[in-house]
């Protein structure tokens, strides 16, 4: 009796076993729901943290087969209503391309006359890009972390970190890839920052979305001595290997600077309208691996 009382007081040590086992079991049963609650919340929280690691969780993203099949089906219904707009865009682009073709052919002819000697011409390595056309089967714009699912995947040659563009401009970067589908992080997701520069002055900065309006984003890191004008065009800088130089990103909608600030606050109207996005092109930079390896090597030395 005495010993048992004594034991109750120092509950944290399992010295006199049985009574404490019983206590412990009672305790566990009484609070089992709380434990289950905590357990599930810990799993959820782990998922939140883990999900930020790149390309690991194909199963837990909308590129898993059940979710993507469902979205593809729903998209085929929705897309029917977008056909007219898509057609208009295509024909416009077609015309522009044909014009360009004619212009280039003319230039080629004129060049041939001037240099009759055969000049060995190679595409510079940073220009070796290939486009993979894909269809958007799911795209959100009203969340804080938006994602896009497209209907091409690893079998079509898509890999994580590739850039994605549409006919209007930059869309985003590939995050997760399954055999037939991929998930893209668009500009409309504060997890990525796109390096871009002014077409006019070549000053570069990072473009970041603030979670508010799907038509606008903010440009950071432009110092106060740079001259700006409303409507200035922003293009990709080509400083990262994800996007080649010169793809349109947007125009300056508005900019502010206070007396005390060193950097501008710039509001950019995005070139791409994400609410009507239906067809995209994934950029495959053929020398990506070579460039990465080289950069890694020189960092190690």
């Amino acid at each position: 009796m005495l010993t048992e009382n004594f034991c109750y007081k120092k509950t944290s040590f399992p010295v006199c076993g049985f009574a404490h086992m019983k206590n412990l079991i009672n305790f566990l049963i009484q609070y089992s729901v709380v434990f289950l609650f905590l357990f599930l919340e810990v799993i959820s929280f782990t998922l939140i943290v883990k999900n930020q690691d790149y390309q690991k969780s194909v199963f837990l993203s909308s590129s898993n087969s059940v979710a993507s099949t469902m979205f593809e089906w729903s998209n085929s219904v929705v897309e029917f209503f977008k056909l007219r707009a898509a057609n208009d865009n295509l024909s416009e682009e077609n015309t522009a391309l044909k014009n360009q073709l004619v212009k280039l052919q003319n230039q080629l002819v004129s060049l041939k006359k001037e240099t009759p000697d055969s000049v060995h011409f190679r595409i510079p390595p940073e220009m070796e890009y290939q486009f993979i056309a894909a269809k958007v089967i799911k795209c959100t714009t009203n969340k804080t972390l938006n994602y896009i699912t497209i209907n091409k995947g690893a079998l079509d040659g898509i890999k994580p970190d590739m850039g994605v563009v549409s006919d209007e401009g930059v869309v985003g970067i590939v995050k997760t890839v399954s055999p037939k589908f991929s998930v893209v992080i668009p500009i409309l997701n504060p997890k990525i920052e796109i390096s871009c520069k002014f077409k006019r002055s070549n000053y570069s900065g990072g473009l970041l979305w603030n979670g508010e309006d799907s038509r606008y984003a903010n440009l950071n890191d432009i110092a106060r001595h740079v001259e700006l004008a409303l409507g200035d065009t922003l293009i990709t800088s080509g400083l990262t290997s994800t996007f080649p130089e010169g793809i349109p990103v947007g125009n300056i909608e508005d900019f502010k600077i206070k007396e005390s600030d060193a950097y501008y606050k710039i509001k950019v109207k995005l070139a791409v309208d994400f609410r009507t996005l239906s067809h995209v092109k994934v950029i495959n930079y053929l020398n990506y691996q070579e460039q990465k390896d080289l950069e890694k090597k020189s960092e190690e030395q």
């Binding site: 729901v33 599930l40 999900n51 804080t144 972390l145 508010e212």
Partner: protein
């Protein structure tokens, strides 16, 4: 219709409606109502707590997978399922042995409105803060919480006032 079957159908319909319709609709720019939480709110009162927690986790994961944010939805939904029992005990006096489905008729109008408002706001606050606490400024999150909660609450109350006893 047996309650179990009714709840299974409700689960499937709410997930599909959330993912295929609500996630694609723009209300005033950036409101995304999360109606799926109605499934947890409408579980029978005496559902074992461990079971409603597991259901909430499954629901959260299913919604989350479709929007690429699995953890956030699971976390918020499990939180709501955990808080539900306390809220019910606080506002209503359900007799022992009764197992009604929460609604205007069983809870009374004011108790049911309070029940919906508190749980929906809890869900939205948890969700939006987890989704964006390090990325976006506090005012934007607050605006989103208020507007999204409001739309979700109105939708739930609207649906409930049309449903039969």
């Amino acid at each position: 219709m047996p309650t179990v079957l009714q709840n299974i159908i409700r689960f499937i319909l709410l997930v599909l409606f959330q993912v295929l319709v609500l996630d694609n609709i723009q209300f005033l720019g950036y409101i995304n109502p999360y109606l799926y939480i109605l499934f947890i709110l409408a579980l029978p009162v005496q559902t074992p707590r461990w079971f409603s927690l597991l259901l909430a986790f499954t629901l959260g994961i299913s919604i989350g997978i479709c929007s690429n944010t699995p953890g956030q939805h699971a976390f918020a939904t499990v939180l709501v399922a955990f808080a539900r029992d306390g809220i019910i005990k606080l506002f209503t006096s359900i007799e022992e042995g009764n197992n009604p489905t929460p609604s205007f008729y069983t809870f009374g109008v004011s108790a049911y409105i309070k029940y919906v408002v508190i749980l929906v706001v809890l869900h939205n606050v948890a969700l939006f803060f987890l989704e964006s606490f390090s990325f976006v400024s506090g005012w934007i999150i607050l605006t989103k919480v208020v507007l999204s909660s409001l739309v979700t609450i109105l939708m739930i109350l609207g649906i409930q006032s049309f449903s039969k006893k």
